[in-house]
Every structure is written in structure tokens, then in C-alpha cells.
């Protein structure tokens, strides 16, 4: 029935839906999972993603598949068509530089997200062109609003999140976040991790949570560190009281370190549950 109203972007269905836009959103649900977690203690944001194409034959490129910087203080995770994403990322980068050129101040994260969303929306209303099949997780820092995480979808809608998951199996990821995302869990000292030392990265519990979620949403049970892409957005206070935002992509060794930590924790938990249940 809806076939009559889904051929063109610019036609509403009798139920008041835009089918093309909804089909675009379906495309996202087949994409590699992306997780974004804002540290409740204000130490930064963790962005983690599952890389879809991992082949020995792929030339190792410096360009990541999922994470892209937009400016010094904003970066994004991509879920969906990489080619569509490339256009939007280019727009976002130019927009950020134009703002910086005009105001000599870094663009506020929400403004950048809004302008990309307006761009996406225009493809759902006029021109007869199909919508972009991309959802982003934009993460950034600005001086007035601190660390922020935004999710955008092909309709041009966006919302701010403390933590969220998009892409394949995102429902499973979101349910883990509902129980595990809270301040106590994500503060390092309260962690039951035995490798607790004072120099530990304050984002470690958030990284561990992100990996835990990806392990749940991935379709393989024996994950290899090459399938993960993890990026941290943190800030350093400089001597002149200015804030320096740092965008750090974890390398293979670091991912392996955190991954091993999480996998051992999970196995320990499973063993504990198994032993307590056998007592009964």
C-alpha cells in the first residue's frame, strides 16, 4: 500500500509519513555499530565503533573508516553510507572554518550539528534528490556548554545525549547503557578493576563500558582488536588558562589493552555467576 507513496522523497503518505526518509533510516540499522559516551565527571567523551570491512588485503590507510575530525574541538562517528558521509563531513569542516574565520572563535558544537542537519533536511523537502543515508554521532567541546554528544539521522533531526548507540543492534547497546551508565560506575576509584593505579586514564571506565557494548552488538564472539576504532576527546588546561581540546585515536596496542581488560572482567563475572548458581 505504501508503495504508491514511497517513490519520491517529497510525497507524504496518507498516514503522514515520509517513506523515503524512513527507508534511509533503515539503511543505518545495517551499519557498523557506533557508541558515544560522555563521561559524567566531565573528563571527556569516548567514541567507539565497529569496523565492518576487515580484510588482510585492505591497504592500511591513515584515513579511518568511522571516525573523522571536523575541527580541533569536534569529531564525529559515521554510521551508514561512507560516500554520503564524506560530503557531509566536508560541509561540516568548511562550515567550522567559515565560522572561525568570521568570529575568530571555534564554532559551538550545536551550531555545527544544526547546520549539517539543515543541509540534510533540505534533501527531504525539495530538489527531488534522495536523502543522505548517514547518521552521525558528533562529539565536541565548547567553552559555554562543555562536552556534548549529538546524534543526527537522515531526516535532519538531531538530539543531544549523555550516551547512545547507533547502527546494528543498537537496541541491545541502549539497554546496557540504561543500566550501566551512571556516575558511580564510571568513576575510576569505584571500579573493581584490579589494575587500578593512580595514573589511570580517568576515561578508562567509560572506555570499558563502550567496549562492553560493542562486544554485545558485534556478530562475532571472538573479537579482534583490529575491528575496533576508539577515539577519545579530552581537554587540557593550558598555562594561559585557555583550554586545549585533544582528539586522540587509540592505536592497536592500546585497544588491545582495554579489550583484554574487559574480556577478562566479563569472564570473571561469568565464573562468579556460575559458581554462585551451583551453590544452590
Amino acid at each position: 500500500m505504501s508503495r504508491r507513496y514511497d517513490q519520491s522523497t517529497t510525497t507524504f503518505s496518507p498516514e503522514g509519513r515520509l517513506h523515503q526518509v524512513e527507508y534511509a533510516m533503515e539503511a543505518i540499522n545495517n551499519a557498523g555499530t557506533c557508541v558515544g559516551i560522555v563521561d559524567p565527571n566531565g573528563n571527556g567523551i569516548v567514541l567507539a565503533a565497529e569496523k565492518r570491512v576487515v580484510s588482510k588485503l585492505l591497504a592500511p590507510s591513515k584515513i579511518s573508516e568511522k571516525t573523522y575530525p571536523i575541527d580541533d574541538h569536534i569529531c564525529c562517528l559515521v554510521a551508514g553510507f561512507s560516500s554520503d558521509a564524506a560530503i557531509l563531513i566536508q560541509e561540516a569542516r568548511l562550515g567550522a572554518q567559515r565560522y572561525l574565520y568570521t568570529y575568530q572563535e571555534p564554532v559551538p558544537v550545536e551550531q555545527s550539528v544544526k547546520s549539517i542537519c539543515n543541509y540534510k533536511q533540505s534533501y527531504t523537502q525539495f530538489g527531488g534528490l534522495r536523502p543522505f543515508g548517514v547518521a552521525f554521532l558528533f562529539a565536541g567541546y565548547d567553552i559555554n556548554n562543555g562536552f556534548q554528544l549529538y546524534q543526527t539521522d537522515p531526516s535532519g533531526n538531531y538530539s543531544g545525549w549523555k550516551a547512545t548507540v547507533i547502527g546494528q543492534n543498537n537496541q541491545a547497546g541502549k539497554s546496557i547503557l540504561k543500566t550501566d551508565y551512571n556516575e558511580t560506575n564510571l568513576t575510576p576509584n569505584n571500579n573493581n578493576n584490579e589494575n587500578n593505579n593512580n595514573n589511570e586514564n580517568p576515561l578508562t571506565p567509560s572506555i570499558n563500558l563502550a567496549i562492553k557494548i560493542l562486544l554485545k552488538t558485534m556478530d562475532s564472539s571472538t573479537p579482534d582488536s583490529s575491528r575496533f576504532e576508539i577515539t577519545l576527546l579530552t581537554k587540557n588546561k593550558r598555562d594561559d588558562n585557555e583550554v586545549d581540546v585533544q582528539y586522540m585515536k587509540l592505536n592497536d596496542k592500546e585497544i588491545k589493552y582495554y579489550l583484554d581488560g574487559v574480556v577478562t572482567e566479563e569472564e570473571k563475572k561469568k565464573k562468579n555467576e556460575a559458581s554462585t548458581s551451583s551453590d544452590i
Binding site: 591513515k62 584515513i63 575530525p69 571536523i70 569542516r93 568548511l94 567559515r98 572561525l100 574565520y101
Partner: protein, 204 residues
């Protein structure tokens, strides 16, 4: 009076052994009045590329903002820092684009290129570049700078000696120019560090 002499400036760049130096005066004047003595004319584009601009102050400031825009886009796209010779070409294109309504600046670019080879380049206001391996000058004190650099320059100077030479050349030249002076700033760019010093000079 020519528009290029409205604010007054003196900029010099010199090549040394595995290092380059770039220096400028710090006067910000409006014709004969000195308004400020802390105006930077040498800007860092990144660790190994610096650009100094002589000429109209407003155009210099706008161009720096435009260069930063283009450089940021370059770095995001190519995922690497721009090389000084490539940057020089970018500057040249941007200036020539305004061929019939130019920016009134005469830039001097200094940096370390491939394998940390010293690179200097100077341009006129519509982007005609000149490349040498010794020294280049620009600004209202350019004639004085030519004379003094020609006399004091020697090739293959070590960073500390290069610093001394550039400082003496700049100070001597701008002292003869009423529109430049009031302080000086020197950068010596080496492969592992950048020496940045502000010189105490005649405040007249």
C-alpha cells in the same frame, strides 16, 4: 605616500645550516604616529612553516586568518602538515587571485621542507615568488636590509650564529628607518626546536 608604507615594517628571513631564521620589527604605526609596539608580523602556520608579512596591517591580519582557514582544510583532507614550498604556492595563488584589487602585503615565508632542508621565499603583493638559499627581505626598511644582510651574511651558519646575524642585521636596518623598529622579534626554526626571542632595541 604609498599604501604599502602606511604602517611601516621590516621583515627578513635567512637560511643557515639545517635551520632558517625569520625576524621582524614590532612597530604598529599609522603613518608617522606609533600606536603600538607589540605587533606581531611573523606568524606560525605550523611547527616548520612561518610567514612574515610587511605592508598594510589590516591586509596582513586578514591574510593570516585566510591562511589558517586554508591550512586547516588542507590538514583535515591530507592528514599531514603542509610543506613550506607548497604553502608558498598557496600564498602566491591567493595573492594573484586579487590581481586587480590586491592585498597590500609583501610576504616572506621561511620553513624546513623535506628532510629538514631550509626553505625561504618572498613575494610581491600580487604573488610573484622569488626563491634563494641565502636571505630575503621585505618592508619599508627593505633597502637598508639588503645592504646590511649582503655585508653580514655567511652561508651555513649554526642556529646560534644565525640568530646573532639576523638580529644584528634587522636592528641595524630598522634603526635607519623611521617607520620601522620599536622592538624586534626573531624566530630560528631548527628540526627539533624553535628559538623565539624578543630583542631589546632602540625605542625610537
Amino acid at each position: 605616500m604609498s599604501i604599502l608604507e602606511y604602517n611601516g615594517s621590516g621583515v627578513v628571513a635567512m637560511c643557515g645550516k639545517n635551520c632558517v631564521a625569520i625576524a621582524s620589527d614590532m612597530r604598529y604605526g599609522v603613518q608617522q604616529t606609533t600606536v603600538a609596539t607589540d605587533m606581531h608580523k611573523v606568524y606560525k602556520m605550523h611547527d616548520k612553516v612561518y610567514i612574515g608579512m610587511a605592508g598594510l596591517a589590516t591586509d596582513m591580519q586578514t591574510l593570516v586568518q585566510r591562511f589558517r582557514f586554508r591550512l586547516k582544510m588542507y590538514e583535515l583532507r591530507e592528514e599531514r602538515k603542509i610543506k613550506p614550498n607548497v604553502f608558498a604556492n598557496l600564498v602566491s595563488s591567493m595573492l594573484y587571485q586579487k590581481r586587480f584589487g590586491p592585498y597590500f602585503v609583501e610576504p616572506v615565508i621561511a620553513g624546513l621542507g623535506d628532510k629538514n632542508k631550509p626553505f625561504i621565499c618572498a613575494m610581491d603583493l600580487i604573488g610573484a615568488p622569488v626563491y634563494t638559499d641565502n636571505f630575503l627581505v621585505s618592508g619599508t626598511s627593505s633597502e637598508e636590509l639588503y645592504g646590511v644582510c649582503e655585508a653580514m651574511y655567511r652561508p651555513n651558519l649554526e642556529p646560534d650564529d644565525l640568530f646573532e646575524t639576523v638580529s644584528q642585521c634587522l636592528q641595524a636596518a630598522v634603526d635607519r628607518d623611521c617607520l620601522a623598529g620599536w622592538g624586534a622579534e626573531v624566530y630560528v626554526i631548527c628540526p627539533d626546536r624553535v628559538i623565539h626571542k624578543t630583542l631589546k632595541s632602540r625605542q625610537d
